[in-house]
């Protein structure tokens, strides 16, 4: 049996360096936040032609897509009863919760009147896709808080409330799957209103389906990536069959998404545009998200190695985020001569939000029982990054 150093201890210099790194990014983000709220949205590169930019595409739409692991894993374990994945449900729900909190934070930066965000709850306008998305995100974040709360409450010693909440697990999971299906698809549905302002390589009546399928496809990869990184940081072993299962499920889901996406492009007659204007962005997006990951996963050596799955997972995740960015920004049809690229304030705030999410995740993993105790693992030799020149201590 291998045991490894847990980097998430007070004394570990790696832990300190990691947290200082995150806090440094957040400090820069805080300065950008000051500029944003002191001088308004004019400090960004957004304009009348590009009312939505990096924050909506990446922080909100990307963040919500990458948080889809929470409902997918809860569905797998609690409804489909595939219990071998039980040990990754908690980390997936934690990631989901942090993803949604980050998305909401991103919305608060982006709204011109952020102090009025509660208006959506009072002044109803059910014809609006934005109204539906807002309600689903609110309700699903509540579901995630209730799903995650027992872990925190038990740590605080409030086990009666915790066990009450646990008894609600199945209805909460069902509500979570319904809400997620609705708003993961409706985020793509937001763009349906603008058939003439979104380039045909991204505009499609299937946008809701494509957004939902791509979010589901990235879910197993996000769960695998966080398992691999956490196991490295915590010095835990990795569960071979779980990671392999996630990789296999992810591959099938990528084939499904890629098939629907390409089929949609060809059948809608966007075929001629496939090599025309803006198509480079499409090919980079599809290569990152579908082609390259599927190619990598076709090699058994990569499929079975944590490093291989880690790289593949990061590719898929960046591909999904690029898909959201392309749909919102690249695809926008604007008057000639107008362009948009995010400026440093926008990047600094996005980076700050991501750093805040990672900081919360690190603290949670360190202080709460997110990953099950070591004893249950060890079917597979613990993973150490090849870059590390550390030799496992053998007992």
């Amino acid at each position: 049996m291998n045991t490894h150093q847990n980097y998430l201890t007070q004394t570990s210099w790696r832990y300190r360096a990691w947290m200082i790194f995150l806090v440094a990014i957040m400090v820069v983000g805080a300065y950008a936040t000051y500029l944003r709220f002191r001088y308004g949205l004019g400090v960004t590169n957004l304009s009348d032609a590009y009312p939505w930019g990096l924050w909506i595409a990446v922080d909100v739409m990307g963040g919500v897509a990458l948080a889809a692991g929470a409902f997918c894993m809860a569905l797998t374990v609690y409804l489909l009863k595939i219990e071998k994945y039980k040990s990754v449900v908690r980390p997936a729900i934690l990631t989901g919760l942090i993803g949604y909190l980050s998305a909401i934070l991103g919305i608060l930066f982006d709204l011109a009147q952020p102090h009025r965000i509660w208006h959506v709850m009072v002044f109803w306008q059910p014809q609006s896709v934005m109204f539906e998305v807002a309600w689903c995100v609110m309700l699903y974040t509540t579901v995630l808080i209730l799903e995650f709360a027992p872990t925190l409450l038990e740590r605080l010693g409030w086990s009666r409330i915790a066990s009450f909440l646990r008894s609600l697990t199945v209805p909460l999971v069902i509500a979570g799957v319904i809400l997620s299906t609705l708003h993961q698809s409706s985020l793509g549905g937001l763009l349906l209103i603008a058939p003439d302002n979104v380039h045909p390589l991204w505009y499609s009546p299937l946008l809701p389906v494509l957004f939902l399928l791509s979010a589901i496809a990235v879910a197993p990869f996000v769960v695998a990536v966080e398992s691999i990184l956490s196991s490295w940081a915590l010095g835990r072993g990795l569960e071979h069959h779980i990671l392999q299962g996630l990789g296999r499920a992810g591959a099938y889901l990528l084939v499904l998404y890629g098939g629907v996406r390409l089929g949609d492009l060809l059948l809608r007659g966007a075929g001629t545009a496939l090599f025309g204007e803006r198509s480079l962005f499409l090919w980079v997006e599809l290569t990152l998200m579908v082609f390259l990951p599927l190619l990598l996963l076709s090699f058994a050596a990569i499929r079975r190695s944590p490093a291989g799955l880690l790289v593949t997972g990061l590719l898929v995740a960046s591909g999904v985020v690029l898909y959201r960015y392309n749909a919102v920004v690249t695809a926008k049809i604007v008057p000639e001569g107008i362009a948009y690229f995010p400026n440093w304030v926008e990047f600094a705030i996005t980076a700050g939000i991501v750093a805040w999410g990672l900081w919360l995740y690190t603290l949670a993993v360190r202080h709460l029982p997110i990953f099950p105790p070591e004893a249950q693992q060890q079917e597979w030799p613990a993973f150490t990054l090849r870059l590390e020149r550390r030799v496992p201590v053998r007992h």
């Binding site: 965000i117 306008q125 014809q127 609006s128 069902i174 209103i193």
Partner: protein, 266 residues
Amino acid sequence: MANPISRRCFLAGLVVGACSSGRLLEGRAAEQTVGMLYDVTRCIGCGLCERACEEQNQLPEGRAYVDVLRAENGRERCLRRACMHCLDPACVSACPVGALQKTPQGPVIYRRELCIGCRYCMVACPLGIPRLNWEENSPYIQKCQMCADRIAQGEPPACVSACPTGALQFGLRAELLKCAKERLAEEKLYLFGEHELGGTSVLYLSDVPFADLGLHCQRQEPLPKFTAGMLQKVPWVVGALALGLSGLYFMRRRQKSGEDEDKDKD
């Protein structure tokens, strides 16, 4: 300009404009809503409509809700750019808090006290009309509201009153449309707004194709139906998933307990 508006048509516009008071307009059918007719052939690009708009809405110079693109840089005619007040507006269906509303009289108005600043209306508008004061700390959407207050008091919008050439007329949309069609029958003209985007309250008449003037929109159907289809499915998706997922859970639980019993027997 070469195509003077017919006397009958011009007078009809004036008469209708003068008698369409707010009281008369209450509870009218859809074809009885007010609108505006903009005649490209008569617009000289003087900019008096822009000044009047700034004054009426207390806007800083250059921030009028109406923008006249002057006849220059290859553009053959002037073109007024402002809200067309669609009959079934994309922005109204997009707004999550109902800050944009289509009034029964015809204008699409903006209630800034409700706006959260999500800018989905800007994404939704096919003509790029709603704008934001990006330089302000807590900005609102900027958009023509057809001087709905003035209309309610029986006055035409400020820009119409200011127009010195009669290029802008105010009146019942149905009447203005009739005038426009009479003109179409007489000479080779182009009409925008009868069917475009499902119809707009503001109609444009031109002697050159609108695409040449930079107005490219050719879509005939109203945009809200593009999202309505998805939203109508929501109750069905909720119902089907609730039933399906509960069924799945109980089925799998029974299977599992069966398996466990088998194991116990072994």
